[in-house]
Symmetry: C2
Subunit: 297 residues, 2 copies
């Protein structure tokens, strides 16, 4: 394994430390802590775990966590009404509605209703457009986490060939914008791409965000490349016992880590950055709403 | 010259015909014509030509043209006040502020003030984000014109390798989004790209939008590629007489047209589509403001 391991825990700890200091400074200036409202509709077990993790990390960094748990039968109107009241609430600086929402609710309607300055998930089209246009934006948490890890490994990304596999609004597209802003030559690939192996073999930076376990093969990786694996896939693990599972990324880690220059593991990689970057976004949102310059996080 | 010539005049005429029919249908439904407000600040000769052309083509397709000519000394506050009054005016469906504006006015402040549903230039970050997010948007006119020409030559672009050279908010970035939507594998290149020739040689679709005369060399073009030249550069033309000039694109047309499968000339190419697509956007904006489904243009 010649590849340097890009350890999510180290990077996430650093972000959380910076946010903790930023929260202290914000309190000293304004007399109050940033507030993050997290809305959970229904009883999805994975969503409950994520929401609990967000509340816990909020506590660690000094952000006020406000939880709203609604029944799975909640109507779209009722949810949008709650979002509007959170938009209007000066105690709330960030709003996160945990997705997926039940079928009777349009995810896009929820996204479009969140005030863009409180949109700490960075999914509102205004934030996507501000990011694409080179303006201050709320940047989605996972892509920003991936970006911080890349910058940690190599500060100057200018001129590198980057391949982003996957074009979701949540990850692939914002990652591409962040890498373009860093002056990478950025290629966006996806399920219709004809020779993904050849594209990958040419990439100095490879970001996989497709949600297919071990999809990117080791010999697709350019020797020395920086590999960021955003996938988190649960697969059967009979070696651990009957019915057991384990998490793997979109990249065949065992093979790729012999070839890459640096690589993120799964678990223990980008996934750990998501909540840390959510805290960062909440701190930034609080500053913008208070009319203060963005904090240095 | 084996390349098929992609003639801007033919494509622009077709768009204008469709818009003319759409305007007639809109009038039949609503009793009124779409209205386009064009705002010119100052006396820039090129801007005056563009504004006059917009008014003329509006007349051709049946769109009401409302011109506002302000002195070069206009303050930002006064211009934004005018934009807000146009936002509120139900007779105005589209607002175009001719850029560049004088130095005392922030272009971004103007863009951010235009109501996104009247933003027929497609420059508001909300429209950029809606395009990037796969939602209905106002798409900037020149990129959409380039896209229509590509689709005219080859209806199914899926899986093609596309290279967009230039990453402006006005052209490069929206073109990349449109090609991604068509399932191209899209690479965004720019001044920091290390081996632009190699990128171009691999591209089935090449869009040049950098503003450098004859920059893309003939032997950079992949044999059979579709080449869209968005550049419009004025260069000296001593062969036409002392002090004379002529227009050329970003692609060395004479050389590239021996190699490409199809290519747009300059002049006579994409440039002719811009105003036609502005009319199209105004018609679409009028439909959306009237609560009607988008017209088939």
């Amino acid at each position: 394994m010649p590849a340097r391991l890009i350890d999510g825990k180290t990077y996430a700890s650093k972000v959380k430390e910076q946010v903790t200091a930023g929260v202290e400074a914000f309190k000293a200036k304004t007399g109050t802590s940033p507030g993050l409202a997290v809305v959970l509709v229904g009883e999805d077990p994975a969503s409950k775990v994520y929401v609990a993790s967000k509340a816990r990390v909020s506590g660690e960094v000094g952000i006020r966590s406000i939880e709203h748990k609604l029944p799975a039968t909640t109507s779209q109107d009722d949810l949008l009404q709650l979002v509007r009241s959170l938009n209007a609430d000066p105690e709330v600086n960030g709003i996160l509605v945990q997705f997926p929402v039940p079928d009777q609710i349009s995810q896009q309607a929820v996204i479009d209703t969140i005030d863009p300055v409180k949109d700490v998930d960075g999914l509102h089209p205004l934030n996507a457009g501000r990011l694409a246009s080179g303006l201050d934006a709320m940047v989605p948490c996972t892509p920003y986490g991936a970006y911080l890890m890349l910058k940690g490994v190599r500060e100057d990304l200018s001129g590198l060939k980057a391949l982003v596999v996957g074009r979701s609004n949540l990850v692939g597209k914002p990652v591409a914008q962040l890498l373009l802003r860093e002056n990478c030559t950025v290629t966006m690939a996806h399920s219709r791409t004809k020779d993904l192996r050849a594209e990958a073999r040419a990439a100095d930076v490879l970001v996989a965000a497709i949600g297919k376990p071990n999809f990117v093969q080791g010999d697709w990786v350019k020797p020395g490349a920086l590999v960021i694996d955003v996938g988190i896939n649960r697969i059967p693990a009979p070696e651990k016992g009957e019915g057991k599972t384990r998490l793997v990324g979109d990249v065949d880690f065992a093979a790729a880590s012999d070839i890459a220059g640096a690589i993120t593991p799964v678990p223990g990689g980008v996934g750990l950055m998501t909540v840390a970057c959510l805290m960062r976004n909440t701190l930034i949102a609080a500053h913008r709403q208070a009319g203060l310059p963005d904090p240095a996080v």
